[in-house]
């Protein structure tokens, strides 16, 4: 019966996703120590009458043990399992009531003064905090507090907890004091709410706002960098173009690219290997700017988001060289080392003084340096008027 299965004796105690009635605690413990979950459940119920010991252990385990990782292809069906069928619920209730009655009669372990308050408070606690699984737990989700469902929940939970507190306190005083105790509690809680409520509410709002504004800022920076690389560059080219046909072709290319970007595809850089991505980047800029880009790649790597960032920064550096250096030959050298990927973009053109770049020239700041830093790398621009420019991009590799 208590068969030990090697797969289930993991050193980590996790709450079970599959085998659960409430929070998967019993299922998790059962798997962990290698006994049937139903035995653990019975133990919890019985221990709960030992002055609520079982309940306290249950709640602590719920809070402390992480939820088991999701198994591939397996979606946890919490509704179905959490709310057992009516028949089953009645069965469980009868069993509990029976055990309860038995213990009551035997007069064993039983102390109504403790169990009922703790039970009520625990159920209230559960109702309040059992929202949306692990992500919501441990953090007040103020955005959803005002919605009907969560308000009902909040009300039920609060009433249950208050009832628990009331019963606890009432049991210590005389029976007719119950009314006074409840009144005192309500007054205290209303007072506390009036004092601290607005402040807590404001804090919550502020947190939510800060988080979303940070997300927005990051998105805006990424978008600005992209628009600079593509649309602004093309507009600059169109202004220089002399032939209507050339303008039209530039505009068409840009339209295609922008469309692909808006709808979440990056066809130009979709290559799965770094070498392909660099080559295709070089080809694209050669076409766009009528320059020759000599791209040399030593070693190769699987493309990922960070390498895409490197390739994009590299593309921006090459495009800058094509537009500003005055030469038509640009060298790109990318080397894949064990611990880093380095890229060098060099032209032997006009060069400039990096200290006197106007603030509205966003290319270097956003598209190159900012982009590299967002991906955990670095960028340096080495240039002197008349001595060409070299952009050095370094991206440490995390996986090695």
């Amino acid at each position: 019966m208590a068969q030990v299965d090697a797969r289930h004796t993991a050193p980590r105690l996790e709450r079970s996703r599959r085998d659960r009635w409430v929070a998967g605690v019993a299922g998790g413990i059962g798997h962990h120590i290698g006994v049937q979950a139903s035995l653990v459940r019975v133990a919890f119920v019985v221990l709960s009458f030992a002055a609520g010991f079982g309940l306290v252990v249950y709640i602590l385990t719920w809070l402390l043990a992480p939820l088991e990782a999701e198994v591939d292809g397996f979606e946890a069906p919490p509704r179905r399992i959490r709310l057992p069928s009516a028949g089953r619920a009645i069965g469980i209730g009868l069993v509990i009531a029976g055990v309860l009655a038995l213990l009551w009669v035997a007069g064993l372990w039983f102390d109504g003064n403790f169990v009922w308050p703790i039970l009520l408070a625990a159920i209230g606690f559960g109702v309040l905090w059992a929202r949306g699984g692990d992500a919501g737990r441990g953090r007040w989700n103020l955005e959803t507090l005002g919605t009907p469902l969560s308000f009902t929940r909040f009300a039920i939970g609060a009433v249950l907890i208050l009832a628990g507190m009331g019963v606890f306190l009432a049991a210590r005083t005389s029976l007719e004091g119950v009314g006074n105790v409840l009144l005192a509690m309500v007054v205290a809680i209303v007072g506390a709410a009036l004092l601290a409520g607005p402040w807590v509410w404001g804090m919550g709002r502020q947190l939510v706002e800060e988080r979303s504004s940070r997300v927005r800022t990051e998105e805006r920076a990424e978008m600005a960098a992209h628009l600079h690389d593509s649309v602004l560059q093309t507009l600059a080219l169109i202004q220089r173009a002399k032939e209507p046909r050339e303008m039209a072709s530039l505009a068409r290319t840009q339209e295609r690219e922008l469309r692909a970007w808006l709808y979440g595809r990056a066809p130009e850089l979709a290559g799965v290997r770094l070498r392909d991505a660099i080559d295709s980047m070089a080809g694209r800029i050669e076409r766009q700017h009528q320059v020759s880009v000599e791209a040399v790649v030593v070693g190769d790597a699987e493309m990922d988001d960070r390498l895409r960032g490197l390739v994009n920064a590299c593309a921006e550096a090459v495009a800058n060289a094509a537009v500003h250096s005055g030469t038509t030959a640009i060298s790109v050298y990318v080397e894949v080392e064990d611990d880093a990927v380095n890229a060098y973009v060099r032209d032997q053109g006009a060069g400039f003084d990096p200290d006197v770049v106007p603030a509205d020239r966003r290319g270097i700041a956003d598209s190159i340096v900012g982009r590299m830093e967002r991906h955990g790398g670095s960028a340096a621009v080495i240039s002197r008027p008349g001595a060409g420019t070299e952009v050095v991009l370094k991206l440490p590799r995390r996986d090695s």
Binding site: R273, R275, S292, E294, V296, V297, V298, G299, D300, A329, I330, S331, Y333, E335, Y344, R346, D347, Q348, E390
Partner: protein, 211 residues
Amino acid sequence: MTIRVFIVDDHELFRSGVRNELGRNLEIVGDAGTVEEAVPAIVDLRPDVVLLDVHMAGGGGRAVIDAVRSERPDVKFLALSVSDAAEDVIGIIRSGARGYVTKSISAEELSSAVQRVHDGDAVFSPRLAGFVLDAFGGDAPQHLDPELDLLSRREREVLRYIARGYTYKEVAHELHISVKTVETHVSAVLRKLQLSSRYELTRWAADRRLV
């Protein structure tokens, strides 16, 4: 004495273009569009340097080198190509060419490349430098001859600068050495490239083609 140059390329336009561009500083003694024309002409004219297209019908540049080598060992070859295939580039160097440049090279640079080859030095384009770094990167072969199968740290540094687009003069400046020393390093690399028995070298080059 001006350097005597012979051009082998199957593109007529390209030959006349190079003729015009190099004609000012160098003496163009002749040109040919096929392997069959080129071999007797080179043997006959004894140019100092042959500019050689890698890709041609009838065996390409390597066929020319192989046919001329036995009769005119003094003639030096500089490979000139639009080809990016490692197999062809490594192949023509191992056949005996003293350097490899791409056709996008400027007239001025081509002129100095010819000069350099004539002086007995090697000419590496960024791409060739990249190929060599890649080919000599990998795992060491079983029976290693450090004299031929490995690049020294300095040679590697020099090649990395060349791959980044630095001229020999700029490399010399960056590494605080003389241009002559840079040339020595590059020539040493060329020798290793030609003589190394690293079996990977050929296999690597062939594999690269499939990518």
